[in-house]
Symmetry: D2
Subunit: 336 residues, 4 copies
Amino acid sequence: MSIHELRPSPSEYSYTFGGRNPLLSVKPGDLIEVSTEDCFGGRVKSPLDIPSQVIDFAELNPVSGPIEVEGAEPGDLLAVHFVSIVPAREYGISCTFPSFGALTATHETAMLHDDLEERVWFYDIDLESWTAGFKAGNSDYRVRMPLDPMHGTIGVAPASGEVRLVVTPNSYGGNMDTPEARVGTTLYLPVNVAGAMLSIGDGHARQGEGEVCGTGIESAMNSVIAVDLIKGAAPSWPRLENDEFIMATGSVRPLEDAYRISQKELINWTSDLTGLDALDAMQLVSQMGLSPAANVCDPNYTMVAKLPKWTLNEAQAYGGVHKKLRSLAAEYKLSH
Amino acid sequence: MSIHELRPSPSEYSYTFGGRNPLLSVKPGDLIEVSTEDCFGGRVKSPLDIPSQVIDFAELNPVSGPIEVEGAEPGDLLAVHFVSIVPAREYGISCTFPSFGALTATHETAMLHDDLEERVWFYDIDLESWTAGFKAGNSDYRVRMPLDPMHGTIGVAPASGEVRLVVTPNSYGGNMDTPEARVGTTLYLPVNVAGAMLSIGDGHARQGEGEVCGTGIESAMNSVIAVDLIKGAAPSWPRLENDEFIMATGSVRPLEDAYRISQKELINWTSDLTGLDALDAMQLVSQMGLSPAANVCDPNYTMVAKLPKWTLNEAQAYGGVHKKLRSLAAEYKLSH
Amino acid sequence: MSIHELRPSPSEYSYTFGGRNPLLSVKPGDLIEVSTEDCFGGRVKSPLDIPSQVIDFAELNPVSGPIEVEGAEPGDLLAVHFVSIVPAREYGISCTFPSFGALTATHETAMLHDDLEERVWFYDIDLESWTAGFKAGNSDYRVRMPLDPMHGTIGVAPASGEVRLVVTPNSYGGNMDTPEARVGTTLYLPVNVAGAMLSIGDGHARQGEGEVCGTGIESAMNSVIAVDLIKGAAPSWPRLENDEFIMATGSVRPLEDAYRISQKELINWTSDLTGLDALDAMQLVSQMGLSPAANVCDPNYTMVAKLPKWTLNEAQAYGGVHKKLRSLAAEYKLSH
Amino acid sequence: MSIHELRPSPSEYSYTFGGRNPLLSVKPGDLIEVSTEDCFGGRVKSPLDIPSQVIDFAELNPVSGPIEVEGAEPGDLLAVHFVSIVPAREYGISCTFPSFGALTATHETAMLHDDLEERVWFYDIDLESWTAGFKAGNSDYRVRMPLDPMHGTIGVAPASGEVRLVVTPNSYGGNMDTPEARVGTTLYLPVNVAGAMLSIGDGHARQGEGEVCGTGIESAMNSVIAVDLIKGAAPSWPRLENDEFIMATGSVRPLEDAYRISQKELINWTSDLTGLDALDAMQLVSQMGLSPAANVCDPNYTMVAKLPKWTLNEAQAYGGVHKKLRSLAAEYKLSH
């Protein structure tokens, strides 16, 4: 088991997918202990810091990376397993942000309204009880929420030399903001460039489906990921797998097109795993599938399509790489 | 406990919400044993019956009703609790249908493609094992799926004298096609006309979220529902409640607008129940909410927004009507 | 030349397409002198009348009709030629309306913003100079605009017994709000019920493409229309023809689907007129077509697709019915 | 009058906005004679060359540039006037392309249909008669169309270090595919990087609004442009001006959001030019505006919003730079 560390200094964070030299080089089968900043680059330090005043839109979601994966080539599929995701500070932050979110006029859904109030919520994070404390801004209402840490932004370098701000999710991954990117899950990313160039950030202590206000409980994270490589197996869009489900994603606007992509990708995957033709696979997905929103606030919206693995009659995705990474994760946890 | 029966004869089924005289009149607190036809009006009897040849689009989804609820007036909220939903035949049917479904050109998403193949799947339904058997059309693949019966179409008469084909979901309910409309759940429908005029149909032995192919496992049903009335409490859109979640719906196109409506409605409901202002309620929903698709194939798309009831700190929706209907359902089940 | 008059009394106006008995019965080839109320039912009488306070949303756009066309049967195509449209009052009115318009949160595009200011603009209408006077609400800015009168709402009874509020455009016509519905143009409406049941209203002294604020220069009108019938020729959606262009419409959400419908319909029409197959007809439309927005504010959005008639190499739509109605109109004008 | 030449060699063409060193450096007020390749990079040479077989999607729309404009800084506005656009070959090409176009399933609007037939149309281009000859692929139908040359793709380097494939239109311009980008028009592009880095390509001998099949009459061009710089005047999105209209653009999905952006931008511009507040400016645009589609096929859709300049009561955009560039163009034409 080869374990690397990636703890970027403030100046090393990246704000794009593509266009950057690797901070680290690893091999398939390696683990990486990686620290990530929160989406505000750590600059919102108290409820008095107004996010839009302390940070520029283009500097949201700094990512740690890129990490070069040796041997990865265009057409390969990179597997990234979330071994561990632990909030690094005693607080997490959520906020409304001007012209951002599903229930406000935005730069894309342009309107004549004034911006909504920019409000900041500070959550105390208690690793002991594994909870975060919500306290209303405008009343005494309090609820403690279970932590369910995830990475909102994770992806590889785009194809064709594109360089994209991290805030946009797309076929190379990016800011998909799906709560499914949690511990115990393997994310599959199609590789576009030699070395894949994986970057990760935007940890959320937890996040609802759709991220309606535009932010999760934004937290710097100490995470551990394991990577593997499946040669020549790249689908068109990122996929995920956990012990229960295979999952496909689509990130585009409008939301029905994100849904369409995610469903078609899940149908394609199901076909590949079962030998069902497209219509039969669609039928299976139609009756057994789940379809949660991931984000409905980012420049592209993301939908997830899920199918229970037991319906696949023993078929194993990618030769069982998820199981293998689960074992590797277990081994790591035993020794740490 | 007052129990009614509604078993429409073939000529009594309705194809619209609005514009019809009631088949039955009940009081708040009553139960109704109701039989419903499948979405094909029972006319697809074998895999050799091609749906588009045996049934017209305007005759899909016959509904049983309307049921007049005494005392219901515009502005009231009708509560409909699903006590029991049991497939009435030994088979359920799913199919692709020309120009219908999320992954095909449709009348709305017009394209130059030929229609996809119209394929029919017959499921055997076994009430003993509570499963339905999927058999692929183009291979020997088989899976037995757990039953999870629901009603795809349920609603009341629209406002302003409108009469609408049952296939369209809207603010009066209708063909929302959400798997959440299952046993143990209370559906809340805003009342638009005196008597509410509730109709119900389109049973699915089960259905995935989004109904990507356009149909669930379509089944005639023997169902039992209980109704109650909350005076003057009508929200803008249908809501649901089960033991774990409060849920809001939105039915419109594009899908992000269905999402927006469902989220705003859930936020409004949360505000009402907790005293949180809109931004604080949005924050709670942003971190704790679930956002499954219901349908992405009908003339309006439907999204559901869910919030776990434990986050409401003991608040009870509508004076605890869901609990009351749960008890009524339990009582009924004991005596039957 | 048979000329009818339809001048509804206040209580005779209709607020739906479908579900009404005819006020008048005419024959193909007849002319109708029809008076229509403005979209506010005449209740906004000065800039001090706040529209949302003097009129309910369901009472917007009263229409004059229905007019029964003898011999019209489902599957036929009704031709309605605009002979004359003249503002009936010395003023026209435009306004912002709460939750209505393209640049505001609406009931469908639900957001947490407060409504925009509800402002009313009164235009003086001068038939002599054929202009309307714009005066800014918040400054001294003035512009005189040329009149270009049109009917925003015109349609027939829907199929399948549906009854729809007039505010929604659909395949039966309705509130399409296209400036193309002007004098000299023939509108073609697919007939769904015996007698067609034509209704007309919502005159605009002029309107920009898209109707971004949600209203044109709303005016009661004295109009003259001529009707004709083309047996068995109904397309799926309304079409228009003037001396220069054939035009197809689509009314649905999202806007790209309205575009898709309008383009596919124009391609189909072009195919029928030229013998070109679908791809060749699409090619012709791709290079020669115009694609203005009609409305982007109503419950369904409307796009128009236009092709110059000279590209059709002498082909005549519907046996030259437009020319025939033009002659009839000229004859009428000579004698009045 | 300073005149430059830019005639890229095959290896010098660029496929991205951003990430490239300039091929040429010019000053505000200069003219550039620039040759551009067709969207296929010249590789489709006969109707027998199947575009998807001779060219990769990422190599569509090669652009000539970037051209550095001295003194241009982020926040400035670059004015590009189209002095002359002349087809460089005796033919132009249009085609259907797999998974591209408004009436076909695409990578974004994913479906289960097979691709439409990939058909190629060769137009002969006759500069003398200023026409292009359409000949149907599947019949003898012929039409000669007037030339109306334009550039589909023109833009500057994106902000924040992004590098984008040329095929996507966005706030920096790009593949907007609007027929308004024709001779006599000034395009205004907000500058994001020092030198602006202007690139231009994708000439169309003519194109309908919306570009429904996905391509115009694709032509290599010999063009002349004049550039100027307005310091500190950058709006959010590209604008255009000709002798009759000011125009704003929006490029995003869904199409109603492209419409919203274009309308809001036009309203903002109108406000700036007239002193009208936002609601009054919206009112003016609502009654006097035109709203043609530009493209409904590219990764972002583009809408154009137009307002006749006479409604602005003598106000001059950007100190009359359009007039100045018109004079420069006239002077150039006199001397050539």
